[in-house]
Amino acid sequence: MIQAKINGIDIKVKEGTSILDAAKKVNINIPTLCKHPDLDATAACGICIVKVKGGNKMLRSCCTPLEKGMDIITHDDELQEARRTVIQLILSNHPNDCLQCARNNNCELQRLAADFGIRTVAFPHVAKELPQDSSSKTINLVPDKCILCGRCVQVCQQMQDVWALSFLERGFQTRISPAGDINLSESPCVRCGQCSAHCPTGAIAEFDQTPEVWKALYDPNKYCVVQIAPAVRVAIGEAFGYPEGANLTGKLYAALRRLGFKAVFDTSFAADLTVMEEAAEFVQRFAHGKGVLPLITSCCPAWVDFMEKFYPDMVKHFSSAKSPHEMLGVLSKTYYAQQNAIDPATIYMVSIMPCTAKKYEIQRSEEMYASGYPDINVSLTTRELARMIKQSGIDFMHLPEAQPDHVLGEYTGAGVIFGATGGVMEAALRTAHYMVTGTDADKVDFENVRGLKGVKETEVNIKGNKIKIAIAHGLENVEYVLRRVQKAIAEKTELPYHFIEVMACPGGCVGGGGQPYGATDKLRVARAHGLYKEDDDKELQYSHHNPYIKKVYKEFLEKPLSEKSHKLLHTHYTGRPLYKK
């Protein structure tokens, strides 16, 4: 332990703790701009400076560990003046068009300038003008708003191991860009949106599609329907001042109805359906030897894109099941349309997702038009929906709760935990157990698959069969898992796993790239907790016991992996080049 003083307050912390983190322990917030709790310090901005009493050297507290006996000063006139200068220098190179910026009211630079009461800038204004890039149709790059903090580069290169974004050139010319000034859509970018979720400014934001949705909602010839993903319900509250992890399912349904959607569905229903298809696929491969092992989950489109680009040799291991919102999309324009005698051509399906990648997924192949129409018309992020609710004048806080539409809105606890890392695996294991043994497992929870460890490996026993599983989230964790599989296949040794779940975003979809800003592990845990609590509270916790899943199979899809299911609910994959240019 290290003993030291911060602003005269005695403090004891673990060795290696940064001065920044140590100060937090005694309720002192040192301002930061480049440092993000998820990431290593890049020490790029210089706002977090502190002094050691008696000395005049300024230390960057985000990357300097507290040392024994240090007597730290975090705030005095000299430090505050230096901070003001840093902010002014940044503003002198910044477009400063906050009112038209995607991060207006939500920007870390804006907040800092506001807190420090910056009213004038003592330097000439020299802002860069660089081309924007919205080619990926999922995120929008505005490089002249970049303050060069390095977060997105670290996220894209280390956390996600994609290496789409990089810093090109140096000095004043430095800018974020894919290699060689190509468009993001020509780069290896897998559209996870994590760069946008970590950027402190409006330099990277989601590709805003709310105007199209407003237009559709006001169009009398369109029959607008909507679905919400599991992870959205436990995060949207952050935009309205709710405590972390608050589950607002009922209010969301109500708000969506008020926005003008004629039917409100829940992606968790389709998650139950995905479980049925995927568990059946697993049982077929595991127990009946049809198809290769390990089976790898495919409900995360950024992960699918990553695999197609970086591990094309794994294509045959992927579950052919579509992601849940795609399944719901196709059912809304087939089953639901038929049952309610609605012309599917008029149905306009909007997905509300924690995710930017789904904006891309809905057009990724012909199979996303299995209903004969675009199965999903637009996919919005949680952040976009929060803006729509605010614009519409709905008093979200005081809105009475509502119910979803029948059948496509009815789900079990297994469906709702899809939003957390390990949730897909857990839900699938519950049903796989039933499919193999004809009975439910004694215990409904598989605790070993939960939590934020980057790679979770464990074994599950089903009727004397040991099933070895792995769960990875955050794409940097994929390499370890897949290399082990590749090695075992090449050397014809025993497979390390039979079943693998991967989610591109840290924490799974609760930590998705389209979720409200400011996610840290603490917040990811709180969001996940909100989902597990709903699972516990649900009367039904097994997808195969969902009476409406049974009903849809009986009336429409026949059975898991039937010909009709294959046509509507499954897709296929193909290797893709890293660079199109």
Binding site: W163, L165, L168, R170, A179, G180, Y579
Partner: protein, 161 residues
């Protein structure tokens, strides 16, 4: 497989990788050899290098664009460097640059279609007193006004220099 890149014989990337294998800073050394060979680093060569060395293309471009030595475009017969240091910028360097871009329909970092001029922006040429400054093949022109550009450049266009 074609053996030429823009009229140059191809560099043997695998051979180069082998030669510098395990040595520190090998990426930079290899890029040096490529630059020396072609006079710039062609994109298709970088893509190939990325595969052979198992280094992400983004990393290679970070290195190439960090050092002024490396070029991404084939060199022109003459190189026009316009200074964008603070002094030159404030004294109208940007106008000069725009004017040249318009005159030759070329962007910074690019070479004109006829291969005559390569246009680049530099940070500081060390003679801020003469701002705005530009340089053509090592010859400095100071206090340049946009309407003087024609006179400065025409001897190069006419092939007199």
């Amino acid at each position: 497989m074609d053996t030429q890149v823009n009229g140059n014989t191809k560099v043997d990337i695998k051979g180069l990788a082998e030669k510098w294998k395990g040595k520190r800073g090998n990426l930079i050394m290899i890029l040096h050899e490529i630059q020396n060979h072609y006079g710039y680093v062609p994109r298709e060569v970088s893509l190939q290098l990325s595969e052979v060395l198992d280094v992400p293309l983004a990393r290679i471009y970070e290195v190439i664009t960090f050092y002024n030595f490396f070029k991404l475009e084939p060199p022109g017969k003459h190189t026009i460097s316009v200074c964008m240091g603070t002094a030159c910028y404030l004294k109208g360097g940007a106008k000069l640059l725009d004017e040249i871009k318009n005159m030759f329909a070329v962007e910074e970092g690019q070479t004109t279609k006829d291969g005559l001029f390569h246009l680049q922006v530099v940070r500081c040429l060390g003679c801020c007193g003469l701002a705005p400054v530009m340089m053509i093949d090592g010859k400095i022109f100071g206090k340049v006004k946009p309407d003087e550009l024609m006179n400065i450049l025409s001897p190069y266009v006419k092939g007199e220099v």
